[in-house]
Amino acid sequence: VIATLRMTAEQIADVRPHLFREDRDEHAAVLLVGSHRTTGQVTLLARESHLLCEEDFPPGEHGYRQIAPAALARLGNRAFAQGLGLVSLHSHPGATGQVALSGDDLQGHRRVFGHLLDIVGGSPVGGIAMGTSSADGEVWLGPREIVRLDRLDVVGERSESLRARPVHGAVGAAERYDRQVRMFGAQGQAVLRGMRVAVVGVGGGGSLVVEQLAHLGVGEIVAIDFDRVAEHNLSRIVGASSRDARRGVKKVDVARRLVSRIDPSVRLTAVDGDVVDQHVAEFLMDVDFIVLASDSHMSRLVVNAVAHAYLIPAVQIGAKVDARADGSIEQIYCAIRPILPPQGCLHCAGAIDQLALQRETATEQERIAQDYLGQHSGVIDPSVITLNAVTAAAATNVLLFSAVGLGQEGLGRHQIHTPADGGWLKLRVERQEDCRWCSLAAHSQFARGDGASLPLRRVAAPLSDSRFGGPRRAWRRLLARV
């Protein structure tokens, strides 16, 4: 089992100065963590960080310092109440390049972690020694299931991975990457190669993102789309042909063909489905980055929820041409909305429209009945590849700069481009204190991992009245009862 801990850049910025102070003494913090488990992998997700004071991290009987039992009990009970695990962090101030758990650390784990597992009710517990740019630890999944920490991933505008020892990238990156390696180094190329990136919606914007990711040389692209190529898509989908339109080829299969032509060593996993469905959304939970390029607000709701529940950086893109019923153009803009802490989420930004969600959740018959004022006349908005290209490049840049460590403060801000006048607007999105997705409010799903309650559909059924063929009879029985 490979164990990783994922923290936000905001959290590490809070913890690091506490752990590494001018006194060069050891200091400690405790994280309350959600978790995500798959076969062969466990990911701990930091939800709360608690900086321990001198009283909570006193000189120890068995080692130099130890977390006071009262502090462990207090925080363990808090973790249990929230269904979370607990991970302690403590500094090894002299460890700069690499760090290792000491013998005292390991003995301390064996003395305490069995009891701690009981306190937190079976959620994972762990202990990590931090160097200034390294981390070594172990995670206890059960009294006899102990796993060494592989790495600590920090997600944010400038992501980083901390390991016990630094990993040097392939010194001789392939010739095909020579020009880009000159910008972000062989280490950056190795980071890209190790990434699994989901692209949700591989139509106009998404196909361009897939193309760029393949050229960059990411390790794996997970392309998700339920749609098939039609004639009217051919002005925008990169790699699609008239033959594809005639045959109704799946968009994900066009993406697969495109990637194999650019770089056969880049793996493409094609998922023919709707990301709103649980079995499809589960593909997102194991990726390193999500690009959302589909039109629906339901997919925005889902990706925003998954990104925050599993601490996965993401970006949503859209090119919008608002047309009036008479065909005249009202406004044209391109939106690039990173989902990177510490920015507020798509919900906080007002980018998930509640009325649109209700329309998309309703059946066709319900939609017609609810549109009794005739506000949604079904006008097809225009769509142009140049607008898609602006958003695709900007989104891929957010991924690239964040992943290879070139991101700076502001990378996570939302961008609105108005191509008619060449304008760019950058927006800081404030996090709402009671947001269900990105806040730390009690009801928030932030960093809860597999314990999160997500807005996912249980079965892959078309959103039409036909889905109620069975339940319709059930509904009549129900009415008869009341």
Binding site: Q354, L355, H443, S453, P455, A461, G470
Partner: protein, 128 residues
């Protein structure tokens, strides 16, 4: 494709309603993780053709991310004359019903509750 599973949040919301209206709540899975719900014997305004109706609605699979909308009552409950703005006669799930277009304009996911929503709908009906 159908399933009898109901999302945990939907089940929690149903429990809340059953506690508030004991013996009056009936529900069926909608096949997607949500539930079709009916609350019996909801009081209607004085002067309407019938005194009570079932209040019907769907708790969608993505509740509480989105609120309940709309509500329905029996078609025979419709008051005489032209219907007010928020009331429409519609076909729903194979039958004629009266649709109550009551929207939550400031729904706060996870803070606002299904019970609060239902009580608002009942209050709206009672105050006609």
């Amino acid at each position: 494709v159908n399933t009898t599973t109901i999302a945990a949040e939907v089940a929690r919301a149903l429990g809340e309603l059953q506690e508030a209206f004991p013996g009056r709540v009936a529900s069926e899975p909608d096949g997607l993780g949500g539930a079709l719900v009916s609350i019996a014997a909801v009081r209607l305004p004085a002067g309407w053709p019938v005194a009570h109706s079932a209040l019907m609605f769907v708790i969608p699979f993505n509740f509480p991310a989105i609120p309940i909308y709309p509500y329905y009552i029996a078609a025979e409950a419709a008051p005489g004359g032209a219907l007010a703005g928020a009331l429409q006669r519609v076909e729903w799930r194979g039958q004629s019903v009266l649709q109550l277009s009551l929207r939550h304009n400031r729904w706060r996911p996870g803070l606002d509750t299904v019970l609060g929503s239902v009580l608002q709908a009942m209050d709206w009906l009672a105050s006609r």
